[in-house]
Structures are given as structure tokens and as C-alpha cells.
Symmetry: C2
Subunit: 220 residues, 2 copies
DNA sequence: ACCTGAACACCGTTCAAGT
DNA sequence: ACCTGAACACCGTTCAAGT
């Protein structure tokens, strides 16, 4: 079918999409997204940068394949925790997605910057919409709930991973916010400062996720 | 106070933060984030790229200033639509934030990639938390609701602007999804296809926003 | 068929030196 | 004090040529 593969004619390939994506995800975990360049990835595979373009049309294409692979096993992980009603299953799916993004350095940034239509992504979407439909929601609401859940999860995890990295670069975040708040106005921020600067991101995620699920319950 | 400003000694400055941010936002609207380079921005200001580093420590610093400026007027715009109870005011604030991000090309990407603690950002946060506290929510919930609202809005608008751009690059999105769905599995996606591929992003945003607000109402 | 080598057209950032 | 000029250390991507 495709150019690189099929009846082994000519030289055997030294790299392929599968191994390249694996190596790229390893490099991502070690060095972060900003350090993930086509040249460094090629280096890690003992190949020249240009060789990668026989398997990925662009760097974006590679990043999409990485995002697709990050979603591997998300539906199964959520199914393991299921057994409950629609709201518990939806909650489990969103938690599994956040966990998948968190499991790799800059996972949310990779995911947010790409738009894969691979089997893992479609399988996740199909499962979420399926749970909603089985619960009796109209098809339109099921589709829109998928986007709400996914967009919230990506938005939250983007923030969470940015905060985690900012921590390692020196604790600028709590200090900056506290200083700005201390300096006069922003009475409400001052009151909410403990929760505002909390690093319990799981609790923050659960709060938002619960709002969305309860919003759905009210609509049902 | 700071190095570039104060008693006009030596050469008068040909550029400053204010004009640089304005020019950068213009360039963003014309060419998009990927084309916004320090060199091109310097060109647009008839200056060498290195000169920008007297006003912004890094490109990230410039992007944060751009994000902060994008939030200018958001609280006022929401106040104009206010007059209602806490849920209407929260809704107006979230809508105003989405509108601000949508008003510039790649606005959500600029915003998501930065973490400003400027007056516009803090003012927005303070207003949201203030609305929640005035409605009788505990301080913790008020702070967490701010993050839920902001993270959902950023996540949604990121998706929305990516879809709008994908449209201009050729309508790949509906075709790809439809093809994948047509090919066998994914029965639930097939059922939800109309809503899944809809380009009515305002309706999609309102759906998610309503879920969050109703979730808050249920918790109150 | 698969990969190398080398190039093209760029980047962000720094800093001595000019004015 | 403010900016230029030039460099440093890179980028993503392309493509003729080798094997």
C-alpha cells in the first residue's frame, strides 16, 4: 500500500513510524517539547534528520502520531474503573484522559497542538458518546458533552503541567500572585488565595469535572 | 525605575513596550502566531531584532504582554451585559473572555502559552471570584470555579480557532471524520455526526458553559 | 527503496561597538 | 541610553546523489 513498507524490496528499512513515535515520546519525557527537534530525534535513532520525512510528512504529523499514541489504553483504563452508571463512567473516562496526558512530559501541549483522527482518539470519542446515548441523552447533547469534557480536560492539564514546570524553574507563581494581591486592590483574590495557589490539581480537576457531570444530570 | 524610561537622558527611545505589543498584535492578526518572529516584528518597527530585548527579556515575555493586553476591557464588556444574578454575570464574564481570545488570530494559543499576572488578568480573576463570593459560595469553591471557567474557555477556544484555521487550509476535518466513521465501527460517532462536525461553536460553547453554571447552582 | 550530505531559508538570543 | 551589526547555535524541510 503505502510507500515505506510492503514486499521487502531494496534495502530493509532501519526506521519506521512505530519505533520513531516510541523514541520521540522517550525524548519528550527526558527533555520536554521545546527540546524535541527533528534533528535530535534523528540523532537518537542514529539517522539523519531528512530520513524522518520518509515516514512523517511534517513535524506536525509526527506530533499527531504521538498524541494518538498517548491515548492508547485510555478507554480500557476507564472501563476497568467502570461498572457504574453513566456519570461514573464519564468521570472515569475524563480521569483516564487526564492521566494519559499527565503521564508524559508536556503531554497536554502535544495533544492540544494536534488533531489526530486515529483509532485511539475515535475510540475514546465513540465511547464517551456511547455512554451518553445509553443514558438517554439526545445525540446532539452527547456530542457536545464530549467536547465540553475534552476541552475542559485539555485546558486543565495544560495549566497543570505548566504550573508543574514553572515550579522546577523556580517558584515564581505563588510569589508573583501573592505579591500582586498583597499590593492593594483584588480583595476577592486575597480571600481565595489559599485555593488559588493550591497545588492540589487533582482536587481542582475533580471540582470542575463534577460541575460538568452535575450540569449534565440537571439537563437529563 | 526600570532601565528603559525615567528622566529622558541620552537618546530618546524609538520603541517602547506599548508600541511593540500593539505592533505584535497587528502582525499576529495579519500573519498568525507561527509567522510572528522577533525578526519580522523588528522589521515592522524599522529596528533590528536585538533592540527588542531591551524591552522584553524573551519572546515569552512579549507573548505574555500580548495576552495581558488581549484581556483589556473584558471585565467592562461583561459588566455592560450584567445586571443579573451571579449565574448571568459569570456567563457574561466567560463569554467576554472567549470573545477577547477570538478577536485576534491565534488568540487562544497565545493566551494558553503564557502566564501573565498583569492588571487585566488579575482584574478578571478578582471579578469572577467576587461574583462567586457575593453569591454566597465559599472562598475555595469561588477560586476553583474561576479555574474551571477559564480552563474550559481556553480549551474550547483553542479548539475553535484550530478548526477555523483548518477550514482555510482546505476542509479536511469533516471529511476525515466522516470517512473514518463511515468505515465500520464507531456507531455512536455516526449517530452524533451532525453535532460532532457542526461549526456552530457559539452553541457548543454555550452548552459547556451552561453545564458548568448549572453544576455550580446545584452545589449552592 | 532507503538513507546520506548538503544545502536553503530561516530562528531566538547575545553583545561589543557605535552614536 | 539606545540601537546596530554581526555573530552563535541552532531550526524544519528539501532533494540530488549514493548504496
Amino acid at each position: 500500500m503505502s510507500s515505506p513498507s510492503s514486499p521487502a524490496r531494496g534495502r530493509p528499512a532501519r526506521i519506521d513510524r512505530e519505533r520513531t513515535v516510541r523514541t520521540a515520546l522517550d525524548l519528550l519525557d527526558r527533555s520536554g517539547l521545546d527540546a524535541l527537534t527533528m534533528r535530535r530525534l534523528a540523532d537518537a535513532m542514529d539517522v539523519q534528520a531528512g530520513a524522518l520525512y520518509r515516514y512523517f510528512a511534517t513535524k506536525q504529523d509526527l506530533l499527531a502520531a504521538m498524541a494518538e499514541r498517548m491515548m492508547d489504553g485510555v478507554v480500557d483504563a476507564a472501563a476497568g474503573t467502570c461498572g457504574g452508571d453513566w456519570s461514573e463512567r464519564l468521570t472515569a473516562l475524563a480521569r483516564a484522559m487526564r492521566a494519559a496526558l499527565l503521564s508524559r512530559r508536556d503531554g497536554a501541549r502535544v495533544f492540544a497542538g494536534t488533531h489526530s483522527t486515529g483509532a485511539n482518539m475515535l475510540g475514546f470519542a465513540d465511547t464517551v458518546v456511547g455512554v451518553m446515548r445509553a443514558a438517554g441523552f439526545p445525540d446532539d447533547d452527547a456530542a457536545r458533552a464530549l467536547y465540553t469534557l475534552a476541552n475542559f480536560t485539555v485546558g486543565h492539564t495544560l495549566e497543570e503541567q505548566a504550573a508543574l514546570q514553572g515550579e522546577n524553574d523556580g517558584p515564581a507563581d505563588p510569589g508573583l500572585l501573592a505579591d500582586a494581591v498583597a499590593g492593594g486592590t483584588y480583595a476577592h483574590l486575597a480571600a481565595g488565595l489559599p485555593a488559588l495557589t493550591s497545588t492540589d490539581f487533582t482536587r481542582l480537576f475533580e471540582f470542575g469535572l463534577n460541575l460538568i457531570v452535575e450540569g449534565l444530570r440537571a439537563r437529563r
